[in-house]
Amino acid sequence: MSARAPLSHLRRLVLAAPLLWLLMFFLAPFVWVLKIALSKSALSQPPYEPVLSFSDSWAVWGEKIASLSFETFDLVITDDLYLAAYLSSLRLAAIATLLTLLIAFPLAYAMTRAPKHWRAALVMLAIAPFWTSFLIRIYAWIMLLKDEGLINKALLSLGLIHMPLSMFATETAVLIGIVYSYLPFMILPLYSALERQDPALLEAASDLGATPLKAFWRITVPLARPGILAGLLLVFIPAVGEFVIPDLLGGSDTLMIGRSLWSEFFDNRDWPTASAVAVLLLALLLVPLMIYERQQVTGTQP
């Protein structure tokens, strides 16, 4: 847009809507959580003693902020358990995200190669699991993975194994759960990036002497980069904070930050510490988001 006409009322309204949404449902709750994180734990209802109050005057706020203690943050940062939980979450989420990419890419690629009239149906199939409750699907995995579950029964009766494989309540089960649950979030952006590619580009590469494999690496993959990045983020970010899957499929030794957060809130009733964990998690996840943002900018700019 070269000519910058003043924004009409309608356009201002349209632009304001998402901002308002973010303000109400992201920024305001976040400020609230931050406020709790800076409070002191207490045996009361709710279980914290606010340090900052929204009813205080501005002058009081200034004073209080100057004398704030960040002891909950200190605790979370210095305690090895939290550090271990953060690292373990990042590691599990990273492994799961890469596995998801490895499984989703061939699927999405095959979908774009299918006859045109099949593609809409294939996209529907890719998101079909969403028609069933997420919880029910995770419970179904318990039935599959348990020592006396379907997979072990099948393998035993086929004589492939003599002892049940212990899959349930392990990190492997958590990885399976995450990969399974988030696969559609990887398939869809990959599919849309791959489907946009002009088939003539691959023909041109092949015409210029590239083997099919080389053409794939030099043409298909680089052009799918926006889709790959979007898919990685869409899987990685929620996977880091995932709580339900490690809680249901993981063992007692499966350390993930979402679980730690939950137990701080509900088992220990230590809301300030739990809030600090949440705030730090958010800060942590801003890093990949900012990398993505940079990539987008350099990707569109020559």
């Binding site: 023909e203 092949s206 015409d207 210029l208 002497g209 080389k214 680089p222």
Partner: protein, 360 residues
């Protein structure tokens, strides 16, 4: 042309789901030739090109390049390159990277790649635009990058799929001459696929006029224009007027026919139709003469000027004959050419040796 042709197609057939796209087609193309495959859409010219490039495999027949059977060779192993109609430039690579792509696949030494890319950029007059991305180029510049990319491996044969279709009229005109120059400078045989007879006429040394999967006629543009073998060729290449009729009698070097509208016309004929056989006379607009209706008027008919258009130094007339036929007449300026007004009564005639009676 000495010895074996560069490219030989031997009785190629290809059909898609039972619908034949190319039927029992044979064609030889020598080295260093600018060849055009001309035909309406759906005539099989694109399929033929994709068969040569290796994107399709013929159902029957053989493709020989320099005497070597390449019928079943995949595209990346064929010493043939192609310029795509959409240009198919790699959007994530710079102009230089696009052009270098083919050489890099060969494992060419880095220094040689750089030198040959620079040569190519000079050939297509893009020397200072090598760092740009395809989306920063104009249509004409993209076309040149596509040409450079397809030529850098010094293919023996370059296929060009509607190379000018995406350009505007003015640019198309200039680009035609650039393509001809590139062909001369590289000595590569160019095979251009086009539906535009003008392009083929301007650029090609020889052309093949295709219809429904086979070739109607092969020849130089002049031969095809002046001696069309079929009604389809006469109608597709250049403008013409048709008179359908039956052979009445043989004349020296031709036949006399009576048209369905009752005109008696004489025309040269290269075939040997029987008396009474159905033929079509094709006569180009520039070979029709206009004169005032008179007593000695022969080989034509009387009509009335319906339209008169002056364009590019030529006068074009549409004349409705008394028989109801509409004919198109084109005259140059000067030497005793009368400027007929609309509504004027004229006698339209032609010299029999200028017209061709074609067997239908």
């Amino acid at each position: 042309m000495s010895g074996a042709p560069l490219l030989r197609l031997e009785r190629i057939s290809k059909s898609y789901g039972g619908t034949p796209a190319v039927q029992d087609l044979s064609l030889d193309i020598p080295a260093n030739e600018f060849f055009a495959l001309l035909g309406p859409s759906g005539c099989g010219k694109t399929t033929l090109m994709r068969l040569i490039a290796g994107f399709e495999t013929p159902d029957t027949g053989r493709i020989l390049l320099d005497g070597i059977d390449i019928t079943h060779l995949p595209p990346h192993l064929r010493p043939v390159n192609m310029m795509f109609q959409s240009y198919a430039l790699f959007p994530h690579m710079s102009v230089e990277q696009n052009i270098a792509f083919g050489l890099k696949q060969e494992g060419c030494a880095r220094q040689e790649v750089v030198a040959r890319v620079a040569d190519m950029l000079r050939l297509v007059q893009m020397a200072d635009l090598g760092k740009r991305r395809p989306d920063q180029l104009s249509g004409g510049q993209r076309q040149r990058v596509a040409l450079a990319r397809a030529l850098i491996k010094r293919p023996k044969l370059l296929l060009l799929d509607e190379p000018l279709a995406a350009l505007d009229r003015k640019l198309r005109h200039d680009t035609q001459f650039e393509l001809m120059q590139a062909q001369r400078e590289t000595g590569t045989s160019f095979v251009v696929v086009t539906h535009d007879q003008d392009e083929a006429m301007v650029m090609a040394h020889r052309m093949a006029v295709m219809r429904s999967g086979s070739i109607d006629q092969i020849g130089s543009p002049r031969e095809v224009y002046e001696e069309p073998q079929t009604r389809h060729v006469a109608g597709f290449v250049g403008e013409t007027n048709f008179f359908d009729g039956r052979v009445m009698q043989y004349m020296p070097g031709g036949v006399e026919i009576e048209t369905t509208k009752g005109l008696r016309l004489e025309a040269a004929c290269r075939h040997h139709p029987a008396i009474g056989a159905r033929v079509t006379i094709s006569i180009r607009p520039e070979h029709l003469r206009l004169s005032a209706p008179g007593v000695f008027s022969t080989n034509g008919g009387i009509g009335e000027i319906v339209d008169h258009v002056f364009r590019e130094g030529l006068s074009s007339f549409r004349v409705r004959l008394e028989t109801g036929d509409i004919v198109h007449v084109r005259q140059g300026q000067g030497e005793g050419v009368h400027d007929w007004a609309r509504g004027a009564r004229v006698f339209v005639s032609f010299a029999p040796e200028r017209a061709r009676a074609l067997v239908v």
